[in-house]
Amino acid sequence: MQTAIPKPSPAGKILWAAIAIVGAWCLGVVALRRGEPINAIWVVTASVAVFLIGYRFYSRFINTHVLKMDPSRATPAVLRNDGLDYVPTDKWVVFGHHFAAIAGAGPLVGPVLAAQMGYLPGTLWILIGVVFAGAVQDFMILGLSLRRDGRSLGNMLREELGEVPGVIAMVGVLVLMMIVLAVLALVVVKALTHSPWGTFTVACTIPIAVLMGVYLRYIRPGRILEVSIIGLVLLLGSIWYGATVSTSPTMAPLFDFGPKALAWLLIGYGFFASVLPVWLLLAPRDYLSTFLKIGTIALLALAIFLAAPTLQMPAVTKFIDGSGPVFSGNLFPFLFITIACGAVSGWHSIIASGTTPKLLASEGEARMVGYGGMLMEAFVAIMALIAAASLHPGVYFAMNSPGALIGTTVEHAAATISQWGFLVTPAELSDTARNIGEGTILSRAGGAPTLAVGMAQLLHGVLPGEGMMAFWYHYAILFEALFILTTVDAGTRVGRFMIQEIAGLIHAPLKQTDSWASNVIATVICVGLWGYFLYQGAVDPLGGINTLWPLFGIANQMLAAIALMLATVVTVKLKRERYVLVPAVPALWLVACTLTAGWQKLFDDRISFTAAAQKYADAIAANTLLAPAKSVPEMQQIVTNNRVDMALTGIFMLLVLTMVFFGLRAIVQAWRANHPTAHEEPYVALSSVTP
């Protein structure tokens, strides 16, 4: 049933050779030019060339040889068409939907944090990672799900690897989700700490969303576009009014919170947003954040193209030795843990086996949606990296280093960062803060504020105007906070259903999703789980992101490793052993990264949770106070938090090893069999179903 590949025309060959030469030239400039700053356009052009070549050649190879996608085969959308969940849909519509579902805060935050090692390591990992790992994962999982009635990752694991690994993976997904929610909520906390302007605008999203919800339900049902425009206008109004709030002596204190208070507010918000009826708060805010997300990504791309900034960050900094202030640990494995979304993200395997396979009208379109969609996300990650690297490095490090390292005054911070080799004056730091309408920019880790400053400077370069920089900064903060909070409330709801399912195995009545009591109990458990880690981040001596982001990275890459292991197992089961390296190499790479990172987080005497716990335990024993803790119970709390993180790291490592064991077992069995053993649905010709 294989369709023959048309022979490339001479013109086509010349075109691809030209793209390859331009790409290689740009990549050469990006990688090899030392001593003088380069323009961002080189990075953009090199990336586009790499994406085009990866898509044209590697994804086609996977399409025809590894997955053997067959346009004559009926897809689940055609076979089970119900007009609601399974609907054959135009491929560009599916592409847009898929991209909107996979792109979130992840590809914007990771690359910004990784910029501490210079722009080159991050750029190379995003480009190589996406072509050989990330896009392969998304495409292959989508392809597998297409052949299995659109079944989910968990179901496919259960079928192909066995019942036990399926359940283990689902527990892993739940834990991953709790860490994702905590770390993303922490990004918001970091961005809003003592920022009345930011807090006011983010707080305004709640009444705006409720207004939109009521409008959509009672006034003009289902008019999403209309209500989203109204919402957007109100949001822009709230950013504009935020400037007045932040300078008003009566209103500013009402929106001025420390990290602990913000953490509690977010925990409370997460609880209410997920138990209230979805139409009131959750859904309208979801619509707004989806559209704003796409719009803002387009705006960022436009700003980079028009402003064509020079990258001020060096290609490689001295922090590749693992002594960096933003996150600690060597280039291997921590760069590959820090940039997850954008290069390879396990979470995508859930989406690629969720709604998307139920919408594709033809197997021939899976390549564009699965592989192409992920390339788009990698492009977003590259843009985030450019925005961070185009900042003054001194400003970048002032924003992203914990107070424990750079102090709390601009003088102290400027002196410390200049000592690191990134010359900056106190005036430059306070000027940047004043330009963006904030009291301070020191220690605002988490990526969002850095990206916001980067975006604000780019947009300000394109559209100058008095006070506009502060507007753009708060616009960027608002949009990131908006879609992070949407992930938080929707994720809390999903987590609640997962908890109810697991609890239902122990005590059946807990499974009833329409019972108020069991809803509230499961929501409290869910919020408690991520809330614990969020609060831990808010009181963490190193500012939280430094501690939690590696945990998130390990968990996310662990899930990617599991997904790629599934793809490897199925490739062998289909007796396509000669192509097994396509999914197996990235799977092994991710296993190596997660296990090494986990090991170092447990046993390294410089960067491990164990060492951090020991340091504070020793201080308690010696009866001395260790900053930022102000009392012995607070130090005790830090010890406990680090021990919890140790346990979690251990669980992740154990999970990876168990899955490797089950994966290898399945591979050996399938390799020995002399016939295909994969659980594909039988072939149905498309022509026999559609008239």
Partner: protein, 68 residues
């Protein structure tokens, strides 16, 4: 000439609306109605607002969702 441009614009708009709605978990209403008429003529056809409400609730029922 003009007619094709208008038609193209119309189809782009339709694509944008359909994509935007699908991103919010609302599939194409006309397609659903056609499906109902063809395959389940005995079932009542919901109005757009009923259809929208049902889909809105369904979107947040369980797994799936969005990325980080």
């Amino acid at each position: 000439m003009n007619e094709t441009v208008t038609r193209q614009r119309g189809s782009f708009w339709r694509w944008a609306v359909q994509t935007a709605r699908l991103c919010c978990g609302v599939p194409d209403y006309d397609v659903y109605v056609r499906h109902l008429r063809e395959h389940h003529p005995e079932r009542p056809v919901p109005t757009y607002s009923e259809f929208f409400r049902e889909r809105q609730i369904a979107r947040y029922k369980g797994t799936g969702g969005r990325c980080c």
